[in-house]
Symmetry: D2
Subunit: 505 residues, 4 copies
């Protein structure tokens, strides 16, 4: 199946496109940020993409060791208890984020074991997901943590870290019984506690995932309105897959029709805008991806890369940001992965191997700063100075042999250079190489190097001499993604240099 489309781009014509590709990215639980491999993966992400914020669970999980109840005599249960805060690991984590140019998007949760009111837990690592046994202790913890950040990084910097209250309280695994009123209580207490530390902190919620989102958003806004809470933003999640089918360590799912997801997001916008006092309030999608399962092989595929391009072209329309869940594959929610390619959420596989979707982000990042001149279902093109830059993709819900030809007529003439970077199943597909190697679970240094060498886009170029408009044609193989730049490039040969003679001999 081959589809052909062609577009004529006129001078001075601009198109709306809110590109927030680099605002935020997700991460496995904060305690994992202590790891060396985690850091190396994040460093790679920051080199090519350069996100501004990072958000993940587990700030208050016990491995971060912030909240401490200790007895005078640890072996005497009657000895008095001291409540203390330990910021040793928080400093390690925050310092390393800042070393990489990142600010945290603070998700306040989960509950320290000692503060939990029940044994409700989530994930293999057992995050506590019940309300605090004592709200004063919770507020003290929140405030002590924020004050510590202010002391360490200065108030101006620390208050630029957005604050989100909890994660997916509309699921009983993440919040005991998915008790809405209990969540509102948590929100109110937390909101007040944060603002008391410094009014400049921006605070939001309810961080719900799909399913019961309309109900939750609607009730949450009503609640805020009644309580006259001047919340700073609303948060929710956005995934695009149907029910999972499990097999061994893995799950397989069908993709959802994108418009279904966008329409769901639109409902959130509409609900909020229905409250005059909250009309236009920023919505942060604090998690999104195709599948919400960290063991769905789709995440490692070229299909995923193309599908996400489509998402990146649309999510900014009504949202302030959208945070891909997650940057890397150091992640333990369903346990430590058995193999480097295991369908993890990450843009980068263990061994510092970028996956195809990594490049979807890197390519959209290159569009930042340009003015959009074209946006359609398979392409975004911007003009940046005299240069045209575009990202093109051939997405589909499943393999059906679709090839795509995109033609553009661009208002640029003269001596030009066209550069393309192609990410498709033939040119940039480390998953396939790993499969061909026999799907080894332990990679040798040599295999890692080989996989990395197969994980970068194919770069091609062409000179174009055009006296009027310039026509470009791009052929995208199934699930292919192409980044292109077309820029003026007058030939400036050094004296005596003759390229044709050099290569034609």
């Amino acid at each position: 199946m081959k589809i052909e489309k062609s577009y004529h781009i006129l001078p001075n014509e601009t198109v709306l496109f809110n590109n927030r590709v680099d605002y935020c990215v997700g991460t496995g639980r904060m305690g994992l940020a202590l790891q060396r491999e985690y850091f190396e993966q994040l460093k790679l992400v920051q080199k090519y993409i350069g996100f501004k914020h990072i958000r993940g669970h587990g700030l208050f999980h016990d491995d971060m060791a912030i909240y401490q109840e200790r007895r005078d005599n640890p072996w005497d249960k009657n000895s008095p208890v001291h409540i203390e805060y330990n910021f040793t690991y928080l400093d390690f984590v925050m310092d390393s984020y800042r070393e990489l140019g990142l600010k945290p998007f603070l998700e306040l949760g989960f509950m320290p074991k000692a503060l939990a009111s029940s044994e409700n837990r989530v994930f293999v690592w057992g995050g506590h997901t019940s309300p605090p046994k004592d709200y004063k202790l919770w507020r003290d913890l929140v405030q002590a943590t924020l004050r510590h950040l202010i002391e360490r990084y200065g108030a101006e910097e620390a208050t630029s870290f957005p604050v989100e209250v909890w994660n997916e309280p509309n699921l009983p695994g993440f919040w005991e019984k998915a008790d809405m009123q209990a969540y509102f209580k948590l929100f109110d207490e937390t909101f007040a506690a944060v603002k008391e530390v410094d009014e400049r902190f921006k605070v939001g919620g309810p961080a719900v995932c799909g399913g019961s989102d309309e109900l939750w958003i609607s009730e949450f806004m009503k609640h805020c309105s009644e309580k006259r809470l001047k919340i700073d933003f609303v948060t929710r999640h956005h995934y695009a897959t149907e029910q999972p089918d499990r097999s061994g360590h893995y799950v397989y799912q069908e993709l959802m029709e994108p418009e279904k997801g966008f329409s769901n997001l639109k409902s959130t916008r509409d609900i909020i805008d229905g409250f005059p006092e909250y009309k236009g309030l920023p919505i942060h999608i604090t998690e999104f991806n195709t599948s919400y399962s960290p063991d769905n092989p789709i995440h490692d595929t070229n299909l995923n890369a193309a599908f996400i391009c489509h998402q990146l072209s649309r999510l900014g329309d009504i949202n302030e940001s959208y945070s891909y869940w997650t940057f890397g594959d150091i992640f333990e929610e369903v346990g430590v992965p058995f193999a480097p390619f295991h369908g993890g959420f990450g843009l980068v596989a263990n061994g510092c191997i970028p996956k195809p979707t990594f490049w979807s982000f890197a390519f959209f990042k290159k569009l930042v700063g340009g003015e959009c001149v074209h946006r359609s279902d398979e392409a975004v093109v911007v003009k940046d100075g005299e240069t045209y830059k575009g990202v093109l993709w051939n997405h589909a819900l499943k393999r059906e042999g679709r090839e795509l030809s995109l033609k553009f007529l661009l208002p640029l003439k003269g001596e030009l250079c066209l550069i393309t970077e192609t990410v498709d199943e033939q040119t940039c597909n480390p998953l396939k190489l790993w499969h061909d190697l026999g799907e080894p679970r332990s990679l040798s240094a040599e295999q890692k190097e080989l996989l990395r060498s197969a994980a970068y886009p194919l770069v091609e170029s062409r000179r174009i001499s055009s006296s009027g408009e310039t026509e470009l044609e791009f052929n995208l193989s199934e699930f292919g993604v192409i980044y292109f730049e077309l820029r003026p490039a007058p030939l400036t040969p050094d004296r005596g240099y003759d390229y044709e003679r050099s290569v034609k001999l």
Copy 2:
């Protein structure tokens, strides 16, 4: 034009192939080894190729500042002169070589200005190329230098550095009047001086280039025989181009039929073997390349890469080593280059961009340690454990549209993985990208990054299930070079992992 060849490789059949690809590489004058960009290029070379020795001109050139004549009062021409040796820069250079795992192949020359007997000079940087004005001073210089190396690195290590006397004395630019008897005098004096320091030093000459090489080699051997000099090896150079045609900063040349060059090399072997006492004496080709001009654009092309593969498959037949001239493009013999791509000798262009020929060496290096099972005009295949590894190339003297299909029937069966790395004009051709960019002389950081990203081989893979012999077919586009590995790779999927389902959806 399409050529097809097919080969049947039998079990236990081995073929002679003396792979000395990594023995030695050439470098611009030693003083340039102080530079930072030089070091970065050499580091890249050592990472992927890992040569053992490095050889270049100018050890005693004045920028190395080893030989010093200084007056007590620098402003009084009658004040007494002190002869001194300054090893500050020699230490910098040698330490940085050793940091990269390299030993020097010491070329003793050129003449310090203060020791030169005339104004005969070579290169833009003016290497002095006349005999010493005083042989005692020369011998003292040589001995002081070797003794310094012994003191710094130990006698065992220092005496493992081969020693060659001068460079291309058969050209009047490199040795005043190309005076053969004068060279023999230099050789004898130097040979004796070196051996006096430590008999273990291996010493050779006469480092001649083509043209008058038969005469020179022949007379040199006769001379050594008469003087009963127990020389350790013979050296010569080997280039493969015809007369140059100059245009501006550049020269263009036609390539020479390779067999003509090999036959010329054979004559050297025959002359030496004609002396019973020198029969089988090692011959080191201390320089080789296609063109001998550092401003011939051929060096940057894919044609060069394929042509050099052919050379690498043959040069070990009668020679102990062959040193590509040179590893990088920090080189000033005809002046500082004006542009990153300027036809320099280097395997790496300025900006740390590997050229196609870089990969010819990297690929042959991967064959080291394997047992050769096939060698033909366009291929070398070795067996390394259970793995077959090969380098294939499609070389020609000029562009004539030749495509090449190579088929191999290999005695390996079972579940296999075939990996190929392709370097051809479509996949790994930074020169073309640079041309398409308009041939910019000053590269931005972004352009360097882009050029590097287009300078690595395309990696592809395939699973093969074979119940008997395995047939492989490779298609090489014009001037293409392919490295392949075929290895047993039983599929070891993790529980529940189904690759087909993952990508077929």
Copy 3:
């Protein structure tokens, strides 16, 4: 109080001294080896000391995720269970050790939760310390792990990793009820399982700590003898403090008279040597330190550095090795430390700040390869070529104002250079600087830099011109440690250089 001692060292006189300072070092639980700060601390240790092995607990603890029991359907408790091994993190850890030149000294333990036969646990992180619920599963786990190491690193390399069975089974916290017969069972099963994988593995136990060590060693040897087990070595621990006094997060203890400890070690030697078939069997002290508490401030002091020097001068007498517990302060047995200086075991404090004891090891490492010419209670001196090198220390059980003057008459003459490196409370005492800063718990980057700058020895030098023997006098302030080198250093001034004139002006 000032004590003076003087020693006359004669030519050709040598003294027994078995310097195994660099054989092994301890580490917090293996899962912590994934951390970035852990790696940085270990890198610093390896740069200055360069240990050969590293040993710690928790290879099989659940955070390493090696042993996995997973159900087909994780949410259905009736679905069948798969037993699997996950080596993802083991590879990370082993690769990073090898990157730093280290081999593991494998301690097999603790029990994966799923294999534990009870809830007996140890440490804040809850290591399971009960016998396996099923010995076959345990043996399979041990064998799978060793086979994985063999597959990844080769049999020759992997079998050079010593194997120790469990840790401190003579304490009920570490081994349920300190049940000796249960331990012998574990040992026998494990010993057989390891040797079945490859007979070349060296295996030992029982890794006991002080207290009941005589009984345990004695019974263990008897047991091995009866079972005719060809064990390869015996292991035990060695700490040198009395009962702890707890206050808040910290404990304080008095030091034990060293001879008491040495005599206890001697009893182990005697017991073993009492068995003819085990006479002379190597003893590895797989843990030692002053205090066994990771929250005893003594570890950060200069007193500790001097005391450990004394230990290092003696422990090799009857033992094959002695492993300092631990190299760094990433350590969580009593929880995450609240402050950079918290009395952790480490040679390095968090923030990569070497503690005084770091230098005790660095200094003894410099003696490796020399021939011992003097050993007394406060000094070891070796001769290495023509150079004399020594470590001197002024140790005591507590502060009592003891100053020490050591004089040596050495058989070296001529133009000499004496270099000293001093670590004492005045010159190399980061703990005091940290205290003076107010004991900050969160260090700024600037404070870390400052603390590091106060954590390196003071280097001093002196020229000595001696016509016969050379007399050196060293004054050690309380708890001071001095490293010295005395070496021939004839003055070789450059022409015209006059140091006296330069500095006297």
Copy 4:
């Protein structure tokens, strides 16, 4: 001899002090900036000091290869000549400066050989120092170079590089015959050429050294006034030594009484301020040091460090900046140095060993941003927030046994921490260590490490509890330099931590 001084610092009292310590630093000729060791030394300097500009000779010297005259046929002297500019090396150098956070302070000179009108040359490396043979060619060269910088770095950035015309034209070695009128011609032509490129460039001269400076400055200002040149600044040099006494490779000189130098600088200020249109025009001291000889051992001494502190406390009074000549010891004006310590100008010795004077700059840099509260002949103290910071020094023209005690009464109370960093002959004196080692000319890696370890200040600290003003007493040994910080440091012990108990045992 012991001198005691005491000062009482009052609250709210401030003192004038124009601290321009980090504005600019000098460098050996620009071509040396290609070197790796140069870069490493500069990196160290930037880490601890962080200069903003760098200035040195030789931008147009032939090793930078910018100006090129090449014939169509290099071997035919009648073939036409092309004038070309080669910016390959200029890009290398500028990029590496910018990588280290530095802008160039552009000194336009010397003359390319092909443009020189005579054989007048300077230095071992033979800088051409005659006027251009053709002023049009010179202007073209200057303009092409500046335009290239604008193209590469943007006009805003490039025009922030100050431009100075030539170097020390009042010396016949640096400018043929020290011909003043010829220099004015050069200045006028160059000034016009630069401003034509972009008026925003700031341009000045005449870069004279002492001796004939009053005459030259005076005539130069007159000339500018007559020609109505709106110059942007005036430049001159400033050295502080008497006549040299040469011995072998070295010179020895007596220091000049500082006030003599300051008074000479004042005369420049007065001359300029005598011209109403130039009153207050910035003066940049584009070179200063004790000795102007790159082979005067004084540069390596502690005396130099103390003397320069005194200079740094005064030079900003009437000057906009003062550029220490030079940052490092990669420098070839009198030839390549024979030994690591050779009296080079550098703040850093070869082998990346900081000299004592390095710390004079690092210490004054720490005062930047503070408000000066005390300045006397041996001290500068500033207040930065609540912290007092000071640099103290004990300078003298020669060794005379002077010890110095400085007492300060500071208006700070409470729990305080005093930190001192001491650089004196006992604590931070790599020259002495090198001498004691026998003055080795080739340093082993081990010796470099040792020398570096002796080249950092001794850091000490003390807690002070003060209820009113705080008295500090500092004892400076001869040529000692001390940096101190006194800051509030309330003790915040962790629960149960008792420092006294920890160290008193």
